[in-house]
């Protein structure tokens, strides 16, 4: 059996090398690896893709320089360590090659470039880093960490080279469908881990730790390209589930038969923490980190169940509680995150590991929420429809009845009271406004009336009698204006101009 296994592995090993050189010059020899292969590949690719990437690189280069200055001190420190020498030399060569190319490109785009990049600094501008400065910082950080991790390994340099070449090649595949991208990454994981297994003579822990770092490095750099790609309808699904969860806001702990008792402070504390963790998942870039968030969330749920039920949580308790947490949290971009993890996570973790179990449960929770109907909540379909359409809510009657027994519902009833009060205030304000408007229109009517009276008076005393009756006319017109001036509120009204014009 072991004979068969080892021979298989050798076969795969050869395939591996072939896969490496497919894009390059096809060298096999161990010593010949140094840069040659990837160099050939880069030149090849450069020629084809130059037009596409020129712009990106120029931008990246400019950003790079800004970052460089910020990190320069740190790097000088790192350089002084003797262990870095082989790596930094190797990187130096790379950087020289790259910077010479990039500089020529840069000249076209940025006439006033400042200092050329410092030698020996491990900065590889990747097209993806041009998209945002933040992602640039993150991926550089990941690169540095990855290099530091690989330094003590004897094949570290090669692993790094392979990963970088692969990551860069992925950027040009962005037009491919998400499933194909996933296939590429998964194949890469598998080939690499098989090779590592031969190398480490089956120390699976060691292989796993390297694979973790590989995943971290690659996915940090690729995140922008492959998370919720435009080629998929992930975003649409995100919105759908978000809307769905929002529509299900009325689902109570009793309907789901969740065995947690939120009256206990420790339990409600755990519930809050679980919600925070599942929301936090979206902020992570590496699939493994996302999984860690789910695992932390699950542990908090277990704690809540254990404190409530005084026994170890079984799946019968766990799944409903997880569903409840997801409903309460409404985690952002839930479907995108699930798809991303499924596509790009190291498969061994998802298959049998503990993280995989919790992730599977999360998938179940989402599937349940999507298909939820009245029956699954022990409701009649009429009730379900009423609640879904917002015409009724199971909270209100219950809140008043159970307000005395739980602090949560007491707070809720207080909120309701305040809301009622606010509604009352709003109504009263509305009434005041109504009255004010009425008063305003009354005043306008009144002035109009006065105007009309003045006019009619003026008409009844035609201008022929102007001279003898001038005093009486002015007297009659002065009378209403005198009343006017007594009226204090009249100041707010537009001045009755017309009568004055006529009088004048």
């Amino acid at each position: 059996m072991s004979l068969i296994c080892s021979s298989q592995r050798r076969g795969i090993h050869l395939d591996q090398s072939e896969l490496l050189c497919k894009k390059g010059c096809g060298f096999y020899g161990n010593t010949a690896w140094q840069g040659l292969c990837s160099k050939c590949w880069r030149e090849e690719n450069q020629r084809e893709k130059q037009k596409q990437i020129q712009e990106d690189w120029a931008l990246a280069e400019r950003l790079q320089r800004e970052e460089e200055e910020a990190y320069a001190s740190r790097h000088q420190k790192a350089q002084s360590q003797p262990t870095i020498t082989p790596f930094s030399k190797f990187e130096e060569r790379k950087t020289k090659e790259k910077s010479s190319k990039v500089n020529t490109v840069t000249k076209f785009f940025i006439p006033s470039t400042k200092t050329p990049p410092k030698k020996g600094i491990v900065y590889i501008p990747s097209p993806s880093s041009s998209s945002s400065r933040q992602s640039c910082v993150d991926s550089d950080h990941a690169t540095r960490e990855f290099i530091d991790f690989l330094k003590p390994l004897k094949s570290g340099r090669e692993i790094f080279k392979q990963c970088r070449a692969f990551t860069e090649s992925m950027v040009y595949k962005r037009d491919m469908g998400a499933d194909e991208l996933s296939e590429c990454v998964q194949d890469f994981y598998q080939n690499l881990s098989e090779r590592l297994q031969t190398q480490f003579k089956g120390s699976s822990d060691h292989v796993e730790s390297v694979m973790d770092e590989v995943e971290k490095y690659m996915m940090t750099r690729l995140y922008k390209e492959v998370f919720c790609p435009e080629t998929t309808d992930d975003e649409k699904k995100d919105l759908a589930i978000q809307k769905r969860i929002r529509a299900l806001h009325w689902v109570t702990i009793e309907m789901l038969c969740v065995p947690v008792d939120e009256e206990i402070p420790e339990v409600s504390d755990s519930v809050v923490k679980a919600i925070t963790d599942v929301i936090e998942m979206d902020s992570k870039r590496v699939p493994k980190d996302k999984l860690a968030c789910i695992t932390r969330c699950s542990k908090h749920i277990f704690n809540a169940i254990k404190v409530s039920k005084k026994e170890a949580a079984s799946a019968d308790d766990f799944l409903p509680t997880l569903i409840y947490i997801v409903l309460k949290a409404n985690p952002p971009r839930l479907q995108s995150n699930i798809q991303y993890i499924t596509r790009f996570c190291n498969p061994s973790r998802l298959m049998t590991g503990e993280d995989g179990y919790y992730f599977t449960n999360l998938c179940c929770a989402v599937a349940f929420i999507e298909k939820l109907d009245g029956q699954s909540l022990n409701l009649s379909s009429e009730e379900f429809e009423l609640y879904m359409s917002g015409q009724a809510s199971p909270h209100w009657p219950q809140a008043s009845g159970a307000s005395s027994c739980s602090p949560g519902s007491a707070a809720l009833s207080q909120v309701h009271k305040r809301l009622d009060m606010l509604t009352g205030l709003g109504e009263r304000q509305e009434r005041v406004m109504e009255k004010a408007r009425q008063l305003e229109s009354d005043l306008i009517d009144w002035t109009d009336e006065v105007e009309q009276k003045v006019q009619s008076v003026l008409e009844s005393f035609p201008p022929e009698t102007q001279n003898p009756t001038a005093t009486t006319a002015s007297g009659t017109s002065a009378a209403p204006s005198a009343i006017d001036s007594d009226n204090v509120e009249n100041e707010l009204l537009p001045p009755p101009l017309q009568p004055q014009v006529f009088a004048g």
Binding site: M1, S2, I4, C5, S7, Q8, R9, G11, I12, D15, E183, Q186, D187, Q190, N191, E194, Q197, K201, G202, S203, S204, D205, V207, C257, K299, F302, N303, I305, K306, K310, E311, A312, A313, S314, A315, D316, F318, L319, P320, I338, T342, C345, P347, S348, L350, M351, T352, G353, E354, Y357, Y358, F359, T360, C363, C364, V366, A367, F368, K371, S376
Partner: protein, 220 residues
Amino acid sequence: MAAGGAGGNSGKTYSFKVVLLGEGCVGKTSLVLRYCENKFNDKHITTLQASFLTKKLNITGKRVNLAIWDTAGQERFHALGPIYYRDSNGAVLVYDITDEDSFQKVKNWVKELRKMLGNEICLCIVGNKIDLDKDRHVSVEEAESYAESVGAKHYHTSAKLNKGIEELFLDLCKRMMETAQAEERLKGNGASQSASSRRGVQIVDDEPQATPAGGCCSSG
């Protein structure tokens, strides 16, 4: 499947995923807690959870890592089954010997599993709570003949008395190892493990029937 570190002569480490299916209250959790932690209704609970448990075994010199996945047994979660048992190497279907209904549920599960995963999954049908034999509602003959008819093994256990559990899992492991080894032999040319087998968990579409078997361990 059967992934894991491969050694030179010491043999490889097998990793198996086993799902635990069965109605609520049949004692799935007690069974697995008894097996992994040797506990039953322990007053001093130190275990945080009993839904995902692992056990390391050494069977005839081969290392085996067993991951036991508990599933939610309530009827309302029945449709989620395929998400759980995808890529699993074995399934333990538990019923309560005092509850005829729970045996009926097991039959449903068996039908579904065979349909979705074919014969690559090792099935164990387990009648639990034999300490309550006087209230037995599922006859031994019926259960055993049914198990045989669907190519499953039947076991009688009691988590309370710690009976039959060790044997159940040991037997299951041996069978899963045989399946894994047979499959390795079939994969003559050592082509890389089929891509489909690695793909982890995916959200399943509406009906369980609509999803094809995960292609787990495609036999040549």
